[in-house]
């Protein structure tokens, strides 16, 4: 390690004040601090500091996402071979998915970090770690057949408009990955919805699926439910267990609730994500699901779906665990987090059921609550302020 350290120190002067490459200091600095926690000592304030830093925090989230990523890769292959009717073993399925998901990952990180580097060089700021997680999230929340250039455009849009214009990591109002998702959805709706994008299948002329088994539909479970497949046949097609384990079509990382729960366990165990948001979101979704059950008309499959299905289908679990808990865009106060999470649960299911165009509401619900989070905090803090003001009055009386 000493050799590596010496090498870095050898190049350092070029990037320091007055060096030829000083402009690129943020890039060098990010590499340097990635490898070595710098030997900076405390100058002001407390003399000793906690071992935690933003890199460690972000890393924990990335590790928590790995089960979803791996399962997602396998499921891409699994769905493909189901559609074509070929048989394949575990490794073959995984490898099939791996070579299709990898480009998405590369594009997302490449474009996102590229944009981030450019902004930091222009502004002369150090590069903050926020995108490490966003870059991983973006490939996991898109359909497998989305064109790479779209992902690139969406990522660039999300980083620039979603984050950098507000001042970078920590300053953004909207979750960056969801901004990319929303951009894709509204800019290229045909590539983000419908029955044609969720499963990677061989394509014939005009992009129509070719070489697939008879009766292949390519729709997601929610798509089927929205098109009013009767509840019995829906439940026959997608068992709750399938939905829980994730062997159904959907965005790459969102299908397996089991993999998500492993990630959630790590996030809760390490205390990185807010359990308040997760729990209240869960309660909100259950409550909304039960309300819909109670008032469901006979032909509305989505409303008839048991709340448990709602938790397991679509992007709800993934969104709640990995996106709603984004500390920057969520409510900041503990009371606020309860309200924020609960409303995400309610709205996710509500949008999912009532949105005529697209049977999924989680990303819209979270984005909407991202915008509302400061308002929630405002009222929570006002309550604290009023309490203090009341105390002054009592003291004066």
């Amino acid at each position: 390690m000493k050799a590596l350290e010496n090498m870095i120190n050898k190049f350092k002067p070029n990037f320091e004040e007055g060096g030829k490459l000083h402009k690129y200091w943020p890039v060098f600095d990010s590499l340097d601090t990635f490898l070595f926690t710098p030997g900076h000592v405390t100058k002001k304030g407390a003399h000793i500091r906690d071992a935690i830093d933003l890199k460690r925090t972000m890393m924990m989230v990335i590790i928590a996402l790995i089960p979803c990523l791996l399962f997602g890769m396998w499921n891409v292959g699994h769905q493909h071979f189901l559609a074509t009717g070929e048989s394949a073993d575990l490794m073959a399925k995984f490898f099939f998915g791996f070579i299709r998901v990898l480009p998405l990952l590369v594009i997302s990180y490449g474009v996102g970090l590229g944009v981030e580097f450019i902004f930091c060089i222009v502004k002369g700021h150090a590069i903050q770690e926020g995108f490490l997680v966003s870059g991983m999230l973006i490939p996991l929340i898109v359909p497998i057949d989305v064109p790479l250039w779209m992902v690139a455009v969406a990522t660039a849009f999300a980083v620039v408009i979603g984050k950098e214009v507000f001042g970078g990591t920590g300053m953004n109002i909207l979750n960056v990955a969801l901004t990319a998702r929303a951009f894709l959805f509204f800019a290229y709706p045909t590539k983000m919805s419908g029955d044609d994008v969720w499963i990677n299948v061989p394509r014939g002329a005009e992009g129509a699926p070719a070489g697939v088994i008879d009766g292949f539909s390519g729709a997601t479970a929610l798509g089927d439910a929205a098109s009013k497949v009767p509840l019995e046949s829906f439940e026959a097609k997608y068992s709750l267990m399938d939905a829980f384990f994730g062997m159904i079509p959907g965005s790459i990382g969102e299908t397996s609730v089991l993999a998500i729960l492993i990630g959630a366990a790590l996030l809760l165990f390490t205390g990185i994500a807010s359990w308040r948001i997760m729990l209240s979101g869960l309660l909100g979704a259950l409550a909304m699901g039960m309300i819909f059950n109670a008032v469901a008309p006979a032909d509305n499959t989505l409303m008839q779906l048991s709340p448990l299905y709602h938790l397991c289908l679509g992007g709800f679990a993934f969104g709640l665990v990995f996106m709603a808990t984004d500390p920057v865009t969520a409510a900041q106060t503990n009371t606020g987090k309860w309200i924020y999470g609960f409303l995400i649960g309610i709205l996710s299911i509500m949008i999912r059921v009532f949105n005529p165009a697209y049977p999924e509401g989680v990303f819209l619900a979270i984005l909407f609550m991202n915008v509302m989070a400061p308002l929630i905090d405002h009222y929570v803090i006002q309550a604290n302020i009023k309490k203090r003001a009341a105390r002054v009055k009592v003291a004066k009386a």
């Binding site: 000592v41 830093d53 933003l54 460690r56 001042g167």
Partner: protein, 458 residues
């Protein structure tokens, strides 16, 4: 009030090198040094000049804005140097000490038989008033404004803190006398916070049952010993109110100016920390040279940082520096100059040796009593606020700490007031400094905020 007040939030940081309950006497120092910067906001008005002879208890300087508060010389001797910095700001006053300390005689007095004015005069002329801190803002006290109440914290919960019961052993009478004096200074009550731990609070054994003095027992992790936390849990400060606070550590000195009629600034200081060979208590005096206190007792294998005061709030000193006016501990911490490689010691390591309040490191699985050698490395780089809810876990106030800091950064005075800035001092944010993922210097922000708010209010 009976019963125990439980403070649920906080964090005990166990550092290696806690002081053993033994003490050494070191000879009286050759010189002492007093720094006006130990007293927040104080602008010194010198009462002596170079070459003057002083007795222990003679005022060296007074607060220009609050002339009743003056700072007394801990020793007798000759003023040898007044060190000035930029714009002739007085940084330090050096006093060459006599071999045998001669005390200014104020005459023995009994506070219970004195009036408030007489007590104030005695405290003021002997320099003992300098040990009081005024809240809000944490400056020296204004004797013209009677405090609503007086709060005394009876213990220190900082890492490696001195045990007051041990440090003040044998001075129980002086403590009692001091509390009697304090009780006369306020129309309200003198609240004394004691630790609920078994066997703690022995220094108050003679003081129990004093009139207008109320003892409250506190249980919890640091900052439970901070007087600000104790005030917040008993009777919070409202806008427009003033309270005085002090540490029980200084009560013996205050008691001494009545019982003995002299300003006896001797202290029993805890010398502790990972860099100390034999952590123990040293009997010395306010302003004594650090070199005398730690002489030969600091390892020389690595570079160590000496801190007068707590690792969380203290002042960095060199061996040529001096013990701060309020400080009860001197700590030697390892300097964390060397970069840490990502996989072995850095942010991707397992981190069994890295203390963290967050559960992203395994500290919390290793038990509460494990001791850590935490060096002075920042352990990361400065970032924007990202993680939420982190300060709240170690900040036992019904205040939103991050929002308060942001109100300060935005210079929004109304918001600062509304969010409760009058109830806190930088020391209350020390743990926020410590736990911050984004490595934000919360104490510095608050100190700046209080300073500009105070200037704004005039």
């Amino acid at each position: 009030m009976s019963g125990v007040i439980k403070i649920k939030k906080g964090l005990n940081i166990n550092l290696v090198g806690e002081s053993e309950k033994i003490y050494s006497q070191i000879g009286s120092p050759n010189y002492v040094s007093i720094k006006p910067s130990d007293f927040t906001y104080l602008t010194p008005k010198m009462q002596v000049k170079v070459g003057d002879e002083v007795l222990a208890g003679d005022l060296v300087f007074v607060d220009k804005d609050k002339p009743s508060t003056g700072v007394a010389s801990p020793v007798s001797g000759e003023i040898t140097e007044i060190i000035r910095g930029e714009k002739r700001k007085i940084l330090e006053v050096k006093i060459l000490a006599d071999k045998e300390i001669r005390y200014k005689d104020f005459g023995s007095a009994t506070p219970s038989k004195m009036s408030r004015e007489e007590i104030l005069t005695r405290l003021s002329e002997s320099g003992a008033l300098a040990f009081f801190v005024e809240r809000p803002f944490g400056g020296t006290v204004n004797a013209d404004v009677a405090p609503r109440d007086i709060f005394v914290t009876g213990f220190d919960s900082n890492p490696l803190a001195a045990d007051f019961d041990f440090a003040l052993h044998g001075k129980e009478e002086l403590v009692k006398t001091a509390l009697e004096a304090l009780a006369k200074l306020t129309e309200g009550t003198v609240y004394v916070g004691v630790s609920s731990k078994a066997g703690h609070g022995a220094i108050f054994e003679k003081s129990r049952g004093l009139e207008h003095v109320e003892f409250n027992s506190f249980q919890g992790q640091h900052p439970v010993g901070n007087v600000g936390v104790q005030i917040h849990a008993t009777k919070p400060i409202n806008k427009g109110e003033t309270v005085w606070t002090m540490s029980a550590y200084d009560l013996a000195i205050v008691g001494g100016v009545f019982t003995e009629g002299k300003f006896d600034a001797s202290r029993n200081v805890a010398v502790a920390g990972p860099g100390v060979k034999a952590p123990k208590y040293i009997k010395t005096i306010i302003g004594a040279p650090i070199n005398d206190i730690v002489s030969g007792n600091v390892h020389d294998d690595k570079e160590y940082r000496l801190v007068s005061g707590s690792p969380l709030t203290g002042t960095q000193v060199t061996k040529e520096g001096n013990l701060g006016y309020f400080d009860s501990q001197v700590v030697a911490l390892e300097e964390g100059h060397s970069p840490k490689f990502v996989a072995t010691e850095g942010w991707l390591s397992l981190g069994f040796k890295r203390f963290s309040a967050s559960r992203a490191y395994p500290t919390w699985l290793l038990g509460r009593n494990k001791q850590y050698n935490i060096d002075t490395n920042v352990n990361g780089e400065h970032r924007s606020f990202v993680v939420s809810g982190q300060y709240e876990k170690v900040f036992p106030f019904n205040i939103y700490p991050v929002h308060l800091l942001k109100a300060i950064m935005a210079n929004d005075i109304e918001a600062q007031e509304a969010l409760g800035i009058y109830e806190v001092l930088p020391e209350d944010f020390a743990l926020c400094d410590f736990v911050c993922t984004s490595k934000i210097d919360a104490q510095v922000i608050l100190a700046d905020g209080l300073k500009s708010l105070r200037a704004e209010l005039g």
